[in-house]
Structures are given as structure tokens and as C-alpha cells.
Amino acid sequence: MTLPHAPLLTTQQLTRRYAGLVAVDHVDLVVPQGGVHAVIGPNGAGKTTLFNLLSGLVTPSEGRISFAGADITAQSAHRRAGLGIARTFQNIRIFGAMTVLENVLTGLHPRLRSSLGAVIFRLPSFRAEERDAVAGARAALDLVGLSARAADPASSLAYGDQRRLEIARAMAQNPKLLLLDEPAAGMNPAETVALGELVRRIASAHTTILLVEHDMGFVMRLSDSVTVLNFGRQIFTGTPGAVRSEPAVVEAYLGARLAAKLQAHHG
């Protein structure tokens, strides 16, 4: 049960410690239903660890995660995928030897229900399910503009297309929440603009987007809200407009001395 205005995802005091390092430090993240939301911060701020916590690849040292009204702190990664959390990876993790279409089909895995008997005897229920899955996968490829490459090995795609494939694979999961980990990394300006349009198209009442990104222009253009992390701590949450004038954020990026100088300069 989700109330109309209840947030889609919240974390309470979410913490992950490694030996001698607190990667994520008591973060209270609130992701509203719908729209595009960004997590930014300098390198090593804990953004990817936060994503790994949310997608279930890393277990929290402390704190809780609620998604769509349920506590998912103890759920494994594959269960969270079934519940509607999808993600992409900063260092692209496509299945290189498989075809583009097969990659996207893996995203439909939680929805496959055929029994082993139906699979082995190729029962009509199995055939219908495979047909639907292929149709769903093709729709996801259409969305990112990769339909023409469906039969090619995924490893043969250009870098930017591999990123698109990861998004198509995640979208095939029909996610309620899509985590994009640095989607614009390594893209040229034209590709970044096209990616921004894609992200806007994907973001809907059904699919909320949470993204980590270093390209500030990209973040400011697309995001409805921005959360800033620094050394694992949440130092700001607000609109893109407000984040620019927040002294703590400027300080985190530029260092205290340069920030003070800028402050003095601009009065």
C-alpha cells in the first residue's frame, strides 16, 4: 500500500562501515514518488555504496530501507529486483557474450513463471510467455533506440550504446525505481543531451529515477531534487536551484579556503 503522497523510498540512519572508513554515515534519504532525483558529491562521498545498499549488493551496518511502504532492509538483491528496484552500473556490466536482445530478456527474468515441465515439453504456456518476453524486450530496446542491434553480441556495441543497453535491460524490469549510476560518464556532449532526453522520457508516475552523476549541467537540467553527500554524510537536500547557493555544498566541492574566497568575492 502506498499513499498518494508517501515517498517511494526512504532510508533511516542508513550506515555502512568498512575497516577504518564510514562510507555511508547515517543517511536519511527520501525519494518521492515520480520524477528525477539526484545524489551528488565529490569522489569518495559514498554515492556508489549508497546505490549498492539500495539495490541489495551491500548489507547495511546500521539503519533501515523502506520501499513502497515495506521494509526491504533484509531482502536480497534478486528479491528487490522483483519488487521493482532496477539499476545500472558505473562500470558497465552487460553480459558481453549474449546478444543485445538476450541481455534485455534477462531483465524480464523475475516475471517468468513456467515450470520446468513446461520448459522441457515446450507447452503452449511456455511459448506464450517467451513470446511476451521477447515483445517486452523489443519494446525496451525501442525505447533506447537499439532495436536495430537486437541480434548483435552485446560486446560489439559502442560505449554509449552499452550504457543505453544497460538502461533498456533495467527498464525491461518495469521498475518503480531506477537507479542510474553515472549514466553520462564517458559520453560526449551530444550523447549526454540525448541521454538527458531519454531519462526525461523514462521518468514517469510509474518509474521514479534516482541518479548519481558528476556532470553538474546534466544534474541541474534534469533533477527535481538533489541530495549532496560528503564523506558519507548527507549535507544537503533540496532543489537544484538551492543547492548552488548552499555554502556547505560549495565548501565540499571546492574546499573551505576557496569557498571562503568565492564567498568574499561575491559578497
Partner: protein
């Protein structure tokens, strides 16, 4: 149905070799199932031994008919697969390999020291009840079943796990469940191979299921490839036939076996038959 005399002669002359090809084919499938999901489990010889000993005891001591013994022979391997599977779910790579080699050694010690298994002498006088058609029927069913499963969403999940288990989990693949299912399937196939081989060779001993056979079974799949089940079986047949072709050169047989495996790993990393499973609409 009568078979022509020349074929009958051929089958009679090469009976042992034909049986070995069928049994080794099943063992190659057993290896394929775990390698196909990216796990290096070396318990296949141990599972084979469990199938062989349990089926031989059912035949010799309980006097059960073979149509009961053969299906029942998978019980012990499956039970042990579940027992070692659950605690080793989180192991992968060389750690899982070591744990499963350990299983083989533990069982060898049990066969040697527990009276009912006949100690170092093994079990003798097992009646020859497995027929050639049974061995190849089960092998054909195994290849077909694994092929059909491989060409479904299950096969996609298996290949995805082999390439990147983390990404597969994020796609919603229940990776631990696949590990356990693969291990149990592997145990079933190896258990059947053990029961069939025990009932064609009339003798089984503790050293037939140790470390060396475990590595031989691994080499079947390494040489043939793991893209498709048939590739692994082809590897097994190649390595079963090879010693026969070199019967006149017994002193170089093992050496040449080793050289072939080294060359295969270096120059055919995907195996003799390296192609992937074709999937419809892909």
C-alpha cells in the same frame, strides 16, 4: 528387431568402450551443469561413487530389481549435494573446488574403512544389468533436457550468472537457488552414471572416485566446451576414444592426454565445439 551381424560383432568387440563413452558422456553433462553457471565444483566423481556404491549395495544386499535400483541410485548423491550445497553456496571459484575435492577424499576414506563398502577390495560380482540402450537413452534424455532448458529463460539466467553473477542478481536471478539446483542436477547425472557403470563392470573400488577421475571429468568439459551440453559430451568421447587409438603406444598415452588438454586450454579456450546455444528470436 534384429541388428545386422556386422554391427552385432562391432558392439560386442567394443562393448566396454561403448559403455565408457555413454557413462563418460553423462559425467561430462554433470560437469557441464555446474560450469554453465560459472561454478567450479569438482564433486562429480564423488557423486558418481555414491551412485555406484549405493546402487551396488541395493543390488547385492537388498536384491532389488534394476528398474528400482537405477532411479533409487540418485538418492544418496542428491542428499549429499544438498548437505554440502547449502553451506558452500557462498563459495565460488577455487574455494568451491577445494571443498568439493575434500568431499571426494572423505568419501574415499569412508569406502576404505567401513566394512559394508568392502574396504580396499571394493565390491565384486555386481551383476551386469545395465544395458547399452539404457545408458544411451539416459544420455540422450540428459542432452535433450539440458538443451531445452538452456534455450529458455533459465538458460539465459545461467549464462548471465556465468558472465557476471552480481549483474544477474540485480536482474532478479536467484543466484544461490541456481547454484543449488545445478549441484543437485549434477549429482543426479553423476549418480546415474555411477549406477550404470557399476552394473556393466561388475566391480567397483574406492580409488575409482577420487581426485584423478574428478580432474578427468573436468577435462571432458574443458576440452569439449561448455557453450552447449553436446560440446561437453563431445569432449568426453574424444578423451575416451583417444587412448584406444593409441593402444600401441601405451607409454605415451597419458602424456599425450595431458598435452592435448594443455593445448586445448591454450588455443581453444571455448573448447572444441565453442559455439553458444542458439536462442530463438535472438
Amino acid at each position: 528387431m534384429s541388428i545386422p551381424p556386422w554391427l552385432d560383432d562391432l558392439l560386442w568387440t567394443y562393448q566396454n568402450l561403448i559403455h565408457a563413452m555413454g557413462v563418460n558422456g553423462l559425467l561430462a553433462l554433470s560437469m557441464y551443469v555446474v560450469l554453465a553457471i560459472g561454478q567450479l565444483s569438482l564433486g562429480q566423481a564423488a557423486f558418481m561413487g555414491l551412485g555406484a556404491y549405493s546402487s551396488a549395495l541395493m543390488t547385492l544386499k537388498l536384491k532389488l530389481p534394476f528398474f528400482v535400483v537405477l532411479p533409487a541410485s540418485v538418492a544418496a548423491p542428491v542428499l549429499v549435494a544438498l548437505l554440502i550445497g547449502v553451506p558452500t553456496l557462498r563459495l565460488s571459484g577455487v574455494y568451491l573446488a577445494i571443498a568439493t575435492i575434500g568431499l571426494g577424499e572423505v568419501l574415499r576414506a569412508v569406502y576404505l574403512n567401513v566394512d559394508v563398502f568392502g574396504g580396499a577390495l571394493g565390491l565384486n560380482g555386481i551383476p551386469e544389468r545395465a544395458e547399452t540402450w539404457m545408458i544411451f537413452g539416459i544420455l540422450a534424455a540428459g542432452i535433450t533436457g539440458l538443451w531445452l532448458v538452456g534455450r529458455s529463460g533459465v538458460g539465459r539466467a545461467m549464462e548471465a550468472m556465468r558472465e557476471d553473477p552480481t549483474a544477474a542478481a540485480v536482474m532478479g536471478v536467484n543466484v544461490p537457488r541456481y547454484h543449488l539446483a545445478a549441484l543437485v542436477t549434477s549429482a543426479i547425472l553423476a549418480g546415474l552414471a555411477g549406477a550404470l557403470s557399476a552394473h556393466v563392470s561388475s566391480f567397483i573400488g574406492p580409488n575409482e572416485y577420487g581426485f584423478e577421475p574428478a580432474v578427468t571429468i573436468l577435462s571432458f568439459a574443458l576440452l569439449g566446451g561448455i557453450g552447449t551440453p553436446i560440446a561437453a559430451v563431445a569432449g568426453a568421447w574424444f578423451l575416451t576414444l583417444l587412448p584406444e587409438l593409441m593402444r600401441d603406444l601405451p607409454q605415451v598415452r597419458l602424456t599425450l592426454n595431458g598435452v592435448i588438454i594443455v593445448l586445448a586450454v591454450l588455443f581453444l579456450p571455448r573448447g572444441l565445439l565453442g559455439w553458444r546455444m542458439g536462442r530463438k528470436a535472438a
